[in-house]
Structures are given as C-alpha cells and as structure tokens.
Symmetry: C2
Subunit: 149 residues, 2 copies
DNA sequence: TCAAACATACATTCATAATGCATTTATTAT
DNA sequence: ATAATAAATGCATTATGAATGTATGTTTGA
C-alpha cells in the first residue's frame, strides 16, 4: 500500500515547473528538460522520460521536441488537481481485486464497497489541493532546485 | 496502490468466523481450521497459515493446536475494527517514501504531509466499521461458506 | 545538415508479494 | 503411551509488477 515512485516523480516534475513558473509572470517561462529534472532529483533519465510523456498526454504540460525543446506547464498551477494527477499516474484500479481469482464471498460481501468508498474519500480529500497548494514554499523550492547539482 | 491479498485473506477469515459465530449465541462456537478456510476460498494452505498466525498474534482470534484444534474469534465482531485489522495486516508504512533515496525537495515539500493526512483520513473512515458491519448479510454468507466445496 | 530534445518500443533488473516445502510443537482421542 | 491432528516456524521458490536500461526514431532549431 504505497504510491508508485512513478507517481511521485510526476509530482516532482510539476512542482519543479511550478516553482519557476511563479518566478516571472508575463514572460514566456523557460522550458525545463528531462536532463535538468534528472540532475536535480538524481533520477533515471528513462523513467523520467516516460513520466514526462505521460504528463504531456494528460495535457498537464506542453512538450516541445527538437533543439531548445523541453516542457512547461500547460495550465495554471491552481488548475492542476492533485487528485487528478495522482489518480491518472497511479492508475485507477480497485484497491481490492475480488475477481482474479474469483472470491466466493462476492455476492454477500460488504467489504469491497467499504474499501471502494474509502478510496474515493481519499481522492475527494486530495481534490481540495492543487499544484498551487504545493507552492506555499515556492521560493525555498526554487532555491533548492537551482542549487541542486 | 492496492491492498495485499494477505490483508484480504485475513478479512475473509474473520468474516468466515463471524458468519458462523452469529449462528448460536450461547454455545461454544465450533472451531474453524486452516483446511476449512482453504477449501472454502480455494487458497494456498501456507499463505492462510501465516495469516491465521498473524491474526492470533494480534489477539483477534484464539488458536488451538492439536487434535480438534483450530481457531475462533477472540472478541465480539463489533469490537474488531476494520481500521485496526487492515492497518496491522497491511503494515503501516508511509504512502510516499521520501528518504531511500533521499528527495531534495523534502525541506520544502507540502506533498508528503498531504498524502500522509489522506492516509489517516482513509483509516479514520475505516474506523467507523467493524467486523459486525460486514455481517449485514450473515445468513447469505453462511449459506455460501457452507456450500462452497 | 547537425545536434538537441522528446517519442517509442523493447529488454532487463530488482523488490516483494505470493506460494511452496519441510519440520517442529502442542493437543487430544484412542 | 501412542498416533493422529492441527497450528507454529523457518526457509526456499515463484510470480508479478515496478523500476531501470538500451536502442532507435522523430521533430525542430540553429
Ligand atoms: S472478501 Fe469481499 S472484498 Fe475480499 S475478495 Fe472477497 S468479495 Fe472482495
Ligand atoms: S516530492 Fe515531496 S513527497 Fe515526493 S519524495 Fe520528495 S519530499 Fe517526498
């Protein structure tokens, strides 16, 4: 019972982007690159590669190929729901798998419903937070990110 | 992000015991055995063995070795909290691991706290349910369990 | 046309849940 | 006493999926 690193990596990437996004309002924000993220967080380039691609497909970031390419937030931080991000990156599977193999208790089991509602409660709770909620210490984050090797 | 089968097996065992427990109030309830559980749910004997042992250590069931041995509920179903059972069987690790390897964002990261509170919210929600909550269809469960090969 | 950057596909490694096997210990009916 | 039964315990193995690695393709700007 733990979030995948994959999911957390996605959130780190968004936090990274948002922390610099807040920097200059009007100007076109500088694009970040996979290399940059890997250097900052000391992560595997290929893993980050996939997460970035995923975030792109989710339209949370805009990716640009080619020289001087990279990616940037496609929305305002306050419009990026943590519930959405985590649900999508994590996958939305049931927290208990009752088929596969089939459980005889199924027809009369209250448990699966209780756990399913617990899961929804977790996401409901997360839905009150956005990427902006993670930016209360944006200057410190920016400081950390820009000094990290 | 899914509960371990191990955890679900534990809950099935408790449900099994409770469903028959409700049967006769005053008489010493019949003991269930690992073999019985395995036959009913079509599970691996050794896996169930471990879960039963764990439930015993948690004082949720009383185990008896030797001929005519087995196990039975050590408490009333209404005194067995689902939050406790799931937390114990599942293990109580953090849902995001920020050390191992160490994440540079740590000092300024709001995310870890948000997720940790979400986890607690999940368990708070579960704490309003007990094994008895799973017994609303006890007769049907008993029916299923007694007819399952 | 070259180099930089993401896109894509596939292969491999690693962690751990899940399962299997063997033996020991306790209990009780015979 | 003894044999049968059932849980306790320890260790080995397998299966699954996350995590990571390798390779190549594609787009884009200088
Ligand atoms: S016991 Fe209930 S929750 Fe668990 S597998 Fe069976 S039906 Fe699903
Ligand atoms: S980003 Fe925050 S939650 Fe994720 S690992 Fe780093 S400190 Fe922990």
């Amino acid at each position: 019972m733990q979030l995948k690193k994959y999911t957390d990596y996605g959130l780190r990437i968004l936090m990274y982007l948002a922390s610099f996004d807040a920097d200059d309002k009007c100007a076109e924000p500088k694009l970040a690159t996979i290399r940059e993220i890997c250097d900052t967080f000391d992560l595997s380039a290929n893993h980050v590669n996939k997460v970035v691609h995923h975030l792109g497909r989710l339209q949370l970031i805009e990716t640009r190929r080619g020289k001087n390419g990279g990616f940037l937030l496609a929305k305002q931080p306050e419009d990026i729901s943590l519930a959405f991000v985590i649900r999508q990156l994590e996958g939305d599977e049931k927290w208990i798998e009752c088929e596969n193999p089939y459980c005889v208790a199924m027809p009369a089991c209250e448990l699966k419903g209780i756990v399913a509602r617990g899961k929804e409660l977790f996401y409901d709770y997360l839905s009150q937070y956005t990427l902006k909620s993670l930016m209360v210490k944006a200057p410190q984050l920016r400081q950390i990110f820009s000094t990290a090797s």
